[in-house]
């Protein structure tokens, strides 16, 4: 009762899924930061890092802060579920992003070369063409489901081609990704999402396994073949490791890019002058991409746990403590950016943390950047302005991703 009384009139800063946390994260996490950039959240039972310097430093501190989701405090949370949902957790536990050194670095260096800016640049002409094929049908089409027509379709085709996954699975990809996302990004009722996640993982693995096997006998110039052939280069990934990391890339390769593209349209709708600026000068597409990543990036935060005791921002972090590194908050911290609430597509420097930082920095960042640049160039060249239909934008209630429930847009050519 006293608890209720005490909370009246002020937002509940410990509720990471509150309406304000989900729908207005810059404000919510700004309030948390104002209390303490290294804030103890009673309910989450961990530290919430929201200051620019603290978030960056924590992302780079892989020596003391573990990404291993299957050990430490997060492992304890999962132990009951992982025996019940064996496919789901069997493959999730092989995601290299959720490993520490040296395993993480071994796998990352195997696949890194495929994702460097130089490597992804090769497919820019195909991406440009694909973007055109998606933009043209939206001319004069009235209101369109932007996520279905564009934001989902572009990245899913790009990652499928990049990996070497045939077209047949693409339609089912969105459901699989949604169901896996509910587990990975922590949304929905526990039992429900775990059961759906198990089905999605099982189906996705069954879909990918014959494709991976086929690459051994029919090698192509694609990433799956590259992973399968790692053995020939003196390294080795088991078939299940290849499949698990293919699942990771299929998932990460479009879910986040889809959200980036959708969030960006919302950002531009709030700053139509910046849309016009991009129309006038398409060479700003690269820095515009960095700025929308900063302003409303697709990932809110990532979790870590402490392997060693240390100090952050005057607080003692004990072994086994959980930490939530909120890059969304870092990207809106006045200590990191002048006028952080304003979208400035020419912002420079723009040392945002949308892709994380340090050894776990998003592997697909160069590919996401390329897709977003081509999307913004084509959309801004074709459409002078656009209207968003939703009067109230609704976001999926997760701690990790910044994901719109839906987005309908009417594009105008004049």
């Amino acid at each position: 009762m006293t608890d209720t009384v005490a909370r009246v009139g002020r937002p509940d800063l410990d509720d990471l899924l509150s309406d304000s946390a989900i729908n207005t994260p810059a404000t919510y996490y700004g309030d948390v930061r104002n209390v303490d950039p290294v804030y103890w959240n009673q309910r989450w039972n961990g530290w919430i890092l929201t200051g620019y310097d603290q978030v960056i430093a924590a992302y780079r501190d892989h020596a003391r802060l573990s990404s291993d989701r299957f050990a430490g405090p997060f492992g304890e949370d999962l132990s009951a579920a992982s025996s019940k949902y064996q496919n789901l957790f069997g493959f999730l536990s092989k995601f290299f992003v959720w490993k520490d050194q040296p395993y993480h670095t071994r796998v990352r260096s195997l696949v890194n070369k495929a994702f460097t800016p130089r490597s992804v640049e090769v497919i820019r002409p195909q991406v440009t063409e694909l973007v055109q094929s998606l933009v043209k049908p939206m001319i004069g089409a009235g209101e369109v489901d932007f996520i279905a027509r564009f934001a989902f379709t572009l990245p899913v085709i790009v990652i499928a081609e990049y990996l070497g996954v045939p077209e047949e699975g693409r339609d089912r990809m969105r459901q699989w990704a949604e169901d896996l996302g509910a587990v990975i990004f922590v949304s929905g009722r526990d039992e429900d999402r775990m059961a759906k996640g198990e089905v999605a993982m099982t189906e996705l693995v069954d879909f990918l396994r014959p494709i991976v096997r086929d690459k051994k006998t029919n090698p192509k110039d694609d990433l799956l073949t590259g992973m399968v052939q790692a053995e020939e280069r003196g390294d080795f990934l088991s078939e299940d490791e290849v499949i698990a990391n293919a699942v990771l890339m299929v998932f990460a390769g479009h879910e986040t890019t889809m959200n980036l593209l959708a969030n960006s349209m919302v950002a531009f709708s709030r700053f139509p002058d910046q849309w016009q600026r991009l129309r006038d000068d398409p060479s700003l597409a690269a820095s515009a991409t960095e700025e929308v990543l900063r302003y409303d990036g697709p990932i809110r935060a990532m979790a870590r746990w402490a392997k060693e005791p240390h100090e952050i921002g005057g607080h003692h972090i004990a072994v086994g403590d959980r930490l939530l590194l909120v890059q969304y908050a870092a990207n809106h911290d006045p200590a990191g950016f002048a006028d952080p609430g304003t979208l400035d597509i020419g912002r420079s420097p723009n040392r945002h943390a949308a892709f994380g930082q340090g050894i776990h920095t998003c592997l697909g960042a160069p590919l996401a950047r390329l897709e977003a640049q081509e999307a913004f160039k084509a959309l801004s060249a074709e459409f002078s302005r656009f209207d968003i239909s939703e009067t109230q934008l609704e976001y999926v209630p997760t701690v990790i991703s910044r994901s719109l429930q839906q987005l309908h847009i009417t594009f105008h050519t004049s």
Binding site: R60, K113, T116, R351, Q357, G358, I359, T361, A365, P366
Partner: protein, 75 residues
């Protein structure tokens, strides 16, 4: 001073672009190291070959490494 450096290969890590991923130090351990903040920097006096430095620049996910030979930009 390595033989390569004497020939005039040099590299620089952009502090604006580097986010501390560390691929450079894997490709060219004698040429790249990290400061306390986790930012990479080039060690002209280190032990490295031209090929390793160029490989480091090519494998940087942030295109943060610029390489010059005799004042001419290579990557």
């Amino acid at each position: 001073m390595t033989e390569s450096a004497a020939r005039g290969l040099s590299a620089e890590v952009s502090q604006d672009r580097c986010v501390g991923i560390g691929m450079c130090a894997l490709s060219c351990p004698g040429g790249f190291d990290f400061d306390d903040a986790g930012q990479s920097f080039f060690q002209p006096e280190g032990t490295w070959t031209d090929a390793e430095v160029i490989e480091a620049a090519d494998s940087c996910p942030q295109s943060a490494i610029d390489v010059w030979r005799d004042g001419k930009k290579l990557t």
